[in-house]
Each structure stands twice: as structure tokens, then as C-alpha cells.
């Protein structure tokens, strides 16, 4: 499984990379970690005539606290994010899912931008981005732009980016001044496989344990990860214990249209999503509530 031939360029900075990409359009692809692109090339499902390597562009690799958000450069390696103190402290949901992303050797090379641009419906990072309402920045030639995560993913393996655009950073909102708990569950045949269903939850509670703010999302079940705003509204102002939440979650998920494949049926995905989301919400609420109790 050898890729079709291509030319290789390593631009020294973002401007040069964007100029190259604009010039070649459809014939060129960006490569950073290559953990999702190279298998596609090996199977000749992707056949770029030029690879533009942005893995070592320093201005694209960083983790920065920016007040209300944490900004992560697109070429930041997943293993770096996994260990980063700012991410652990300020985007705990992202920190929670990182060990689930592939295997350690994949995370050693894979980047956050690569994962997002690949847009696998089961990708954990994409789920967190959608659930938290992250913003994704990009450059297209000389123009810069931003997309909300919910608008970024438009279908399986498909994003709203044009072929000449380069993802530059992801901004994850930070919930300041509240007691936050997170929960994440996924189900797959083997640990580290792409999930058949996944669920993420971030919850803030007040001293009485009532949910004041929620971010809830499901992944791997539908064409793109989905945030569940309606469910968030239903659960706001109540205690999100497992027993109370289960039926509400099942009802909300009863009208989604899940994917079906040789691994799992649509019905399976719907039921699994409900189970996983219930557990994620319960974990998240418990964690927030415990913090609340400790704080008293």
C-alpha cells in the first residue's frame, strides 16, 4: 500500500504555507501528524500532488490561556495537550478525553488540527469542540476567519473549510468562577478503537447541587458530533443524578437519526448514546457537586 507520488514542501511559516495552498488548491493537502492522512494515502483514497508539511511551524503549536478561552495551535501534538497543565486546569473535558484518542504512538504524532480537519464522526476532540462550543480559526490565503465548531463539521469526514484553507487554532471556552465537573464515556469493540457511540458532559452546579450551566454532546452516533441544547435547558436548575436523568435523555435522543454500519445498528447507537450520556451527565454532576461540597 504505497501512496501515489507527490511533491513535498515544508514552508517555514504560516504565510508561506497558506500561499502554497492557495496556489495549488485541490491538488495539495496539508500534513501535520499524518496519522489520519497517511493511511488514506496508503490506500490511495487520498492522492494529493503536493504535501505541505506544517508540523514544525512554531507559530501553530502552543497552548495559551486567553481569559475566557484556551487557545491551542492547530499543529499542537495531541500528546502535548494530554499533559498540558493549562488544559487540565481550564478545559477539563478536553483533558478527560485525550487518553481515549487512538493509542499513545498516534498521539505522539497526531495534532489537534489534524483530528478536527479529518472530521471523523467518532473523534473525541471533535465531540469536545462541539459540546463546549469551541471556535475554530483558519486562514485561507491571506484572509482569516472563524467558525463555530457546530458549523465547522458538516458531514462524515467533511468540514466547511475550503480546500485552500488551513486550520490555525481552536479556542475552547473556559467556565470561570464555577464548580465544574466533567464526564466522558464511549463504547467501542476494543479500547482505543473509533467509538460506536460517545457522550461528553460538562456541568456547573451551585451549592445546592442544582445545575447552573451544562454542555452536553454525543458523538459517533450521527454524521457530525451534536450538542444537545434542548436537553441542557431541561436539566438546568435541577440535580442531574442518574436516576432522574435517564428517561429525559432517552426521550431527547428518540428522534435522532443514527448511523448504521457493520459494527453497530442505528438502534444500538441510539440506545448506547442514551446510556453513555446518562452516565457522563451523572459523572459530571457528581464531580461538580463534590467540588461544591469540598468548597464549603
Amino acid at each position: 500500500m504505497k501512496p501515489a507520488a507527490f511533491e513535498y514542501s515544508r514552508p517555514r511559516g504560516l504565510d508561506e504555507a497558506c500561499a502554497m495552498l492557495s496556489a495549488e488548491g485541490d491538488d495539495a493537502r496539508l500534513i501535520a501528524g499524518g496519522q489520519t492522512l497517511v493511511p488514506l494515502m496508503a490506500m490511495r483514497l487520498a492522492r494529493p500532488k503536493r504535501l505541505i508539511d506544517i508540523a514544525r511551524i512554531g507559530e501553530l503549536a502552543y497552548v495559551r490561556s486567553e481569559g475566557d478561552a484556551v487557545a491551542i495551535g492547530a499543529a499542537t501534538r495531541q500528546c502535548v495537550i494530554e499533559r498540558d497543565a493549562i488544559v487540565c486546569a481550564e478545559v477539563p473535558l478536553l483533558a478527560r478525553v485525550m487518553p481515549f484518542v487512538g493509542h499513545a504512538p498516534i498521539r505522539a504524532r497526531g495534532t489537534i488540527g489534524g483530528s478536527l480537519a479529518n472530521a471523523d464522526p467518532a473523534a473525541e476532540i471533535a465531540l469536545v469542540a462541539v459540546t463546549l462550543g469551541a471556535t475554530i480559526s483558519y486562514r485561507d490565503g491571506r484572509t482569516s476567519g472563524e467558525l463555530a465548531a457546530a458549523d465547522f463539521f458538516i458531514g462524515p469526514m467533511s468540514t466547511a473549510l475550503s480546500p485552500t484553507a488551513c486550520l490555525t487554532a481552536v479556542h475552547f471556552p473556559v467556565w470561570r468562577g464555577v464548580r465544574v465537573g466533567v464526564g466522558f464515556h464511549e463504547v467501542n469493540a476494543r479500547r482505543s478503537d473509533f467509538a460506536f457511540a460517545s457522550a461528553a458532559a460538562q456541568i456547573a452546579v451551585d451549592e445546592a447541587g442544582m445545575c447552573t450551566r451544562l454542555a452536553l454532546g454525543i458523538g459517533a452516533v450521527t454524521a457530525v458530533p451534536r450538542r444537545l441544547h434542548a436537553l441542557e435547558m431541561m436539566l438546568r436548575g435541577s440535580r442531574a443524578e442518574e436516576g432522574r436523568v435517564r428517561e429525559t435523555v432517552a426521550a431527547v435522543l428518540s428522534d435522532i437519526d443514527p448511523l448504521s454500519d457493520l459494527h453497530a445498528s442505528a438502534d444500538y447507537r441510539r440506545r448506547a448514546a442514551a446510556t453513555l450520556l446518562t452516565r457522563a451527565i451523572a459523572d459530571s454532576w457528581r464531580e461538580a457537586h463534590r467540588q461544591s461540597a469540598h468548597a464549603r
Binding site: A4, G34, V38, P105, I106, A108
Partner: protein, 163 residues
């Protein structure tokens, strides 16, 4: 295209097609055949090498991306001709292999694990090797090899009289 690779401490300047994987480059151009192709799509891990001490899949990297790193292959592990590292010896002691095809990958992964974690739990060992598929052993004797190596390495270089 020209690329300069540093492998097992030695630098080589090579002329390669951009599409040549690091795996194929190591095997065919540098004749380091200890890294093996099992799937060429990043799942089985038989192609594992260390990049600055970190295990990566060499089938998912192009040779032209691999300059500037210290690449370690299994050929760089033995302390000398005919000598075995403690990890290699532990694998022989527990028979942590059968056909030997996944073995270089397992050993490099074990070296990397123990470099950062001298006393890994069974769960940590399993997590570390879970990125590499073995079809022969069922993993038990591999896990034991890593644990044995860890135990022996913890005992090395201790001052006399250390309990």
C-alpha cells in the same frame, strides 16, 4: 529529494522519493530490517521505532519528515554485538515472543515505557503494549517480560549494601 536521517546515532544523507515511508527507508535504504510492515495503515504497530525516545508508527511517517530527530530502531538497542539489553534479556527469560515479528516493536515500546516509569503497574504495561498487536503469544509472557525487566533494572547500579 534529499533527507538527512540520524538513526541509532549515525547520520545518513539519502536521496528518496517523498512518498517513501520512514519504515521502507529504514528497511530498504539503511538495511535496518528489524522494523516490520504489518498493515501499512497504522494499526498493528509492527513498524514501531523511537523518535526522540517516543514510540511512533514508522509506516505513518514519510522519510522526508524524519530529519532532525534521533531515531532509534531495534538495531540500536543491544549494548554490543551478541549482547542483550536488560529488556531484551528479560524477553528471552520469559519467552515473550514466538515468531518474533512484533518483538522489535514490543521491545522498543518497553524501553520507552521504562525510561519514563521504572515501576509500571500491570495495567500500565498493558496500556503501553496495547498499541502493538501480537498474534502469537496472547501477551501474557510479553507483559511478564516488561515487568521482569523493570524489576531487574531497578536493581541495577545500586550501591553495595542497598537492600
Amino acid at each position: 529529494m534529499r533527507v538527512e536521517l540520524t538513526v541509532n546515532g549515525s547520520r545518513s544523507a539519502l536521496e528518496v522519493e517523498p512518498r517513501m515511508s520512514l519504515l521502507d527507508c529504514l528497511r530498504e535504504r539503511l538495511l535496518l530490517t528489524g522494523a516490520h510492515a504489518g498493515c501499512e495503515h497504522g494499526v498493528c504497530g509492527a513498524c514501531t521505532v523511537l523518535l526522540d525516545g517516543v514510540p511512533i508508527r514508522s509506516c505513518l511517517m514519510f522519510a522526508v519528515q524524519a530529519d532532525g530527530y534521533a531515531i532509534t530502531t531495534i538495531e540500536g538497542i543491544a549494548p554490543g554485538p551478541g549482547e542483550l539489553s536488560p529488556v531484551q534479556d528479560a524477553f528471552c527469560e520469559t519467552h515473550g515472543m514466538q515468531c518474533g515479528y512484533c518483538t522489535p516493536a514490543m521491545i522498543l515500546t518497553a524501553h520507552a515505557l521504562l525510561a519514563g516509569n521504572p515501576a509500571p503497574s500491570r495495567a500500565e504495561i498493558v496500556e503501553a503494549i496495547s498499541a502493538n498487536i501480537c498474534r502469537c503469544t496472547g501477551y501474557a509472557q510479553i507483559v511478564e517480560a516488561v515487568a521482569l525487566a523493570a524489576e531487574r533494572m531497578r536493581g541495577l547500579n545500586q550501591p553495595a549494601g542497598t537492600p
